[in-house]
């Protein structure tokens, strides 16, 4: 099946893109990598009147750094993010999680910003972005604003982005030298996470100096496992500490239920996967 008819806009600057969204009103869809949007359009589960293709806006692509951040252009593909040296050096959790997104073809087209703006709680990049304290750079008709990840995700598939706003870039604070692991649990390789856990640790002299832990699909939005982080910080990076800390993983979460698991099962997974992610991060 093919999509319902729509008008197509292909801006070449961020300003043009925002203007196209303003002109189109509520019925517009932003086409980033399209790996979620195109299937929906094909099955006619959505029928926007205008599709704004931001694939030809050079500013949106690529990865740079400033003193404190790695700045990932919203339209940078998963393939490019996962292989990027800045990301690997300074935000390795993002690289680890990105490697697990969908499958190779989808990683060639799908984009970092597109995934975050889609705000699927089962998506793999939200929790790492949250855990690392990423900040969203958003462009709208009144200029640009910055929104921390902790405020960006509102509910299932819902962000603070207004209909006429565009996610331009994501600033990920540098976590240089941190040890990371993303532990994903799904039923088949290309399926979404039932639960996944991203951890990033700063280990110094055998002590855990700082810790960030993010949970995927444990609520309608990504969740930071603060209890785990607190139980780790200042402790030796030993197996007992990691195991005890992981027991806090389900605190403050509100996992959903579906055929793949109920809330109790997801809570159990969160603990087990957190324990495994921590020991992988430390050991690897």
């Amino acid at each position: 099946m093919i999509p319902s008819a729509f008008d197509y806009a292909r801006p070449s600057t961020v300003e043009e893109a925002v203007q196209a969204l303003v002109d189109a009103g509520e019925d517009a869809k932003v086409l980033a990598g399209g790996q979620s949007l195109l299937p929906v359009l094909r099955m006619r589960l959505a029928a926007p009147t205008v599709v704004v293709d931001i694939g030809r806006v050079p500013e949106l692509r690529g990865i740079t750094e400033d003193a404190d951040n790695v700045v990932i252009g919203a339209m940078t593909t998963h393939y490019d993010v996962a292989r990027d040296h800045l990301v690997q050096d300074h935000a390795s959790l993002i690289a680890r999680a990105t490697e697990t997104v969908a499958d190779p073809q989808i990683r060639h087209r799908g984009t970092f910003g597109g995934s975050l703006a889609h705000a699927d709680p089962a998506g793999d990049l939200l929790a790492p972005a949250l855990a690392l304290g990423a900040v969203m750079v958003v462009a709208g008709p009144n200029g640009r604003r910055e929104v921390p990840a902790s405020e960006f995700f509102v509910d299932y598939f819902t962000t603070t982005l207004a209909a006429d706003e565009l996610l331009v870039a994501v600033k990920v604070p540098k976590h240089t030298g941190w040890l990371s692991h993303y532990e994903k649990f799904n039923r088949v390789a290309q399926a979404w996470s039932i639960v996944a856990v991203g951890v990033s640790l700063r280990v110094s002299g055998g002590q855990i100096a700082d810790a960030r832990v993010g949970l995927t699909n444990m609520a309608s939005v990504p969740v930071r496992a603060v209890g785990v982080e607190q139980a780790l910080i200042g402790q030796p990076a030993g197996a007992d500490v990691l195991r005890a800390a992981a027991e806090h993983a389900a605190e403050g979460t509100s996992p959903g239920s579906d055929g793949n698991g109920d809330a109790a099962y997801r809570s159990q997974l969160a603990k087990v996967l957190t324990g495994r992610a921590l020991s992988m991060a430390v050991g690897g």
């Binding site: 099946m1 959505a46 390789a189 055929g259 087990v272």
Partner: protein
């Protein structure tokens, strides 16, 4: 000239079929475009059970490019009722089955209107302009609830949701004892209830059909396994003279039973093409295929096994509920009956009773899916063997050995009255155990248990057999099947010595072109490359019963051998004339007749040319070597094998990982080992997928919630292990090639091997069953004594994740 050459049969020939498929030079039905071709799209019911109060098509009719908008009421006079060819009992209930619903829909996805337009996009656009009012009716989904006294009815007019009750009792049949007596006297009695979840065949090529009404015949291309049956059924259903229909199955992208069907879409395309006088094509989307192409399995099995304390089985009682879905399709009611004769499997069971109640529900029809009845039976008995072993604290292999038919006991007539011609279960098992390191894995299992490892190891066994090669026509007749089980072949000797083989088998991935070429090369002594195999077009391959039930080699290829025998017999008479000798003086080998005791001879190609010229033939001999044969087997064939699976079960997450899978199959004589190995691999993948991944799930409204590949989980390469496959070779004694068939073996055998391994890994934790598919959630729940509620709710993932934020 041809010298003595290595036989083709037995060689791992690379496939002839590949050249086109690896370069994209393919003829899938959807690739075919004809001048003036129109496109059909189908409006499908979102409701599982509802009366159609009104349909307003007026807006759609006026849309750009739209030639026709048609409802069931418009076609009521001409669409007939979709055929069911298997009335399993004389009093079987069979409701009318319109291609396009007329006044009531009985499952979600049922067709309620069609649009024919210039382009498929315009046809889709017009669908959205059709307005249907539905009055909801009660939805019947659960089989056990459906047969309760006060249950709402799927078909009011039938007065019941029961389609039929079919019973086999060995005491009544005189093939065995009374099972009730056996159970009453049983030293051990095991009762279990197993669920065969609903599966979706999920062939990779969505179905497509194109009808060209512009010639003298209607030509229908369809992605079907059964072009010949389809032609007859179109004629019978629509009242069109059979000789005015030509059906072509071009390249067909997999079937697995899922394309063993006469579909509403085929009828609708035919009717609309006829009505409009233009070629009309319809290609389904994957979502349509998932929701409306027939499903498989979906049975509830209640099983009672009695045995002596030494492990000897004394009786087996099987009570089935089988979900038909909303209507009967081509062989829907007979699928569970195909399993009836296989519950006793390879074992000497003295008393047996099988009863099956077929039930209507508001779901899409079930019908053939790889194995069709036999995987369900094999699962049940192989799971029971493990349960019996556990009950008696015996090794599960030991229990099997105590009960199976020993190789010296063949031919063996079973409690069902089937005669197994040959087999050697000991040999296959010995080989499998050695390849598997059975004893080593058992040791490791013990160690892990003693250590209390988070990851436990289990070993699962499946010593299976199946009946395949559908089928002796007289047997089918005794089961009230609507047709015979013969197959047809013809051989055409071309003047240049090349050979055309016409087969009634209709391949869709099996490699018949290669295998048949190998067989004919040996039979006629011609080079493999000189043989062309024609199939899948009722004009060239004018007679056939098509491909399903592992029947092509054991029936179709035997017809080819018989036709080749006739070619040689004809050639012999001409050769004798050419060589001026008696027919009895001739030897035929390597494609050449030679006069015994001399160096005189003539090649089959020389004879073909002489026949073409026809200048000097013996009196009364027609100038043709061409021959045909129709073969009707005397018996089924009975492949068997021993499958061993080791699984690691993560008790903390419930994740199951297959650590090792070994199978030793005995499929008789092998024509092409490469193809056989491929069939086994693919069969294993599908059987393992039933054990671990796949399930068609409906919500309480009857909507399929696993309606895309995002939700219905087919395993990818990353989700399956490498398999160790090997063979023993005990030839079938009932056909001249000694072949048994291999298409379904892997699927039938593997599901219980995997589930036995999973249960074996966690039995010491108090688990004796886990419902399929054994998802991590279900496995973890079983270990922790919880019931996994898999009925729904909301969380991220699957199709929801695709559509979520975009609405």
């Amino acid at each position: 000239m041809t010298a003595t050459v290595e036989p083709e049969v037995g060689k791992s020939r690379r496939r002839k079929e590949d050249a086109r498929l690896i370069t994209g030079r393919t003829r899938w039905t959807d690739n075919i475009a004809l001048p003036g071709m129109l496109h059909m799209a189908i409006l499908r019911s979102p409701a599982a059970h509802a009366r159609i109060a009104a349909i307003d098509t007026s807006a759609a009719k006026g849309m750009s490019g739209v030639l026709a908008v048609v409802t069931g009421a418009d076609l009521a006079e001409e669409q007939g009722s979709l055929p069911c060819a298997w009335a399993i009992t004389p009093d079987m209930k069979n409701p009318p089955h319109p291609a396009l619903a007329v006044d009531t829909v009985h499952y979600a996805g049922e067709a309620v209107a069609v649009v024919v337009a210039r382009s498929s996009a315009e046809a889709q656009d017009a669908l959205e302009a059709i307005d249907v009012d539905y009055d909801d009716l009660p939805v019947v989904l659960d089989m056990e609830a459906a047969i309760a006294d006060d249950a709402p009815l799927v078909h009011e007019s039938l007065g019941t949701n029961k389609n039929a009750l079919w019973v086999f009792d060995s005491a009544e049949a005189g093939t065995g004892g009374s099972v009730d007596e056996a159970i009453a006297a049983g030293e051990v009695v095991i009762e279990r209830k197993y669920r065969q979840q609903r599966l979706i065949p999920a062939f990779m090529e969505p179905r497509s059909v194109l009808c060209d009404p512009t010639g003298e015949q209607f030509t229908l291309w369809s992605a079907t396994q059964i072009p010949h049956i389809l032609r007859l059924m179109l004629a019978l259903t629509l009242g069109v003279p059979e000789h005015k229909i030509r059906v072509i199955a071009p390249d067909v992208g997999g079937g697995f039973g899922g394309k063993l069907q006469v579909t509403p879409e085929e009828l609708l395309v035919f009717l609309l093409a006829r009505r409009l006088g233009k070629p009309v094509k319809y290609t389904e989307t994957r979502s349509e295929a998932m929701a409306t192409a027939h499903h498989g399995r979906d049975q509830i099995q209640r099983l009672t096994l009695s045995a002596r304390r030494d492990g000897t089985i004394t009786g087996l009682k099987v009570d089935l509920l089988a979900d038909m879905g909303a209507y009967l399709s081509l062989v829907t009611p007979g699928i569970p009956i195909l399993g009836a004769f296989m519950y006793n499997a390879i074992y000497k069971i003295p008393a047996y009773r099988f009863s099956c109640t077929n039930v209507f529900t508001n779901k899409v029809m079930t019908d053939a899916y790889r194995g069709a009845g036999r995987p369900e039976a094999t699962f049940a008995i192989e799971r029971l063997m493990d349960e019996l072993a556990a009950e008696l604290e015996l090794d599960p292999m030991e229990v099997r050995e105590r009960n199976w038919i020993r190789h010296e006991e063949f031919p063996f007539t079973t409690v069902c009255g089937l005669t197994y011609d040959s087999g050697n279960y000991e040999a296959a098992t010995d080989k499998a155990k050695e390849l598997f390191d059975y004893d080593g894995l058992r040791r490791e299992q013990l160690e892990r248990r003693e250590r209390g490892d988070a990851v436990q190891l289990g070993v699962g066994i499946s010593t299976f057999t199946e009946m395949c090669g559908l089928a002796p026509s007289r047997v089918l007749g005794s089961l009230s099947y609507g047709a015979g089980g013969w197959e047809h072949a013809a051989i055409r000797m071309l003047p240049s010595g090349k050979v055309e083989v016409v087969t009634g088998s209709s391949p869709h991935g099996q490699g018949h072109e290669t295998a048949w070429s190998q067989i004919v090369a040996d039979q006629l002594g011609v080079p493999f490359e000189d043989v062309e195999v024609l199939h899948g077009d009722t004009q060239s391959s004018h007679k056939g019963m098509d491909t399903y039930g592992s029947r092509s080699l054991t029936v179709g290829a035997i017809a080819v051998v018989k036709a080749a025998d006739k070619v040689i017999a004809k050639a012999r008479r001409i050769a004798a004339h050419m060589l001026e000798c008696g027919e009895d003086d001739l030897d035929f080998a390597g494609g050449r007749f030679t006069v015994r005791g001399t160096d005189k001879g003539a090649g089959i190609g020389d004879i073909a040319l002489a026949v073409f010229a026809a200048h000097d033939l013996p009196d009364g001999v027609e100038p043709s070597l061409d021959s045909e044969a129709t073969f009707d087997p005397e018996n089924f064939s009975f492949p068997h094998g021993t499958h061993l699976c080791a699984t690691e079960v993560d008790t903390e997450t419930g994740r199951v990982t297959i650590r090792k899978y070994v199978c030793v199959d005995d499929v008789g004589k092998v024509v092409n080992p490469l193809i056989v190995e491929g069939q086994v691999h693919g069969g294993l993948a599908q059987g393992i997928a039933q054990a671990l991944f796949e399930e068609a799930v409906h919500d309480e409204n009857g909507t399929l919630t696993t309606g895309t590949f995002a939700d219905y989980l087919l395993p990818s390469a990353a989700d399956l292990p490498s398999f160790v496959t090997d063979r023993t070779e005990t030839p079938s004694t009932t056909n001249p090639l000694g072949v048994k068939g291999v298409g379904e073996a892997g699927t039938i055998a593997s599901t219980p091997a995997v589930v036995n391994a999973i249960v074996d890994a966690v039995r010491h934790l108090g688990v004796d069953d886990i419902e399929m598919p054994c998802t991590p959630f279900r496995v973890w729940s079983a270990i922790h004594g919880r019931t996994a509620d898999t009925s729904g709710g909301q969380a991220g993932g699957g199709l929801g994740s695709i559509q979520g934020g975009l609405q």
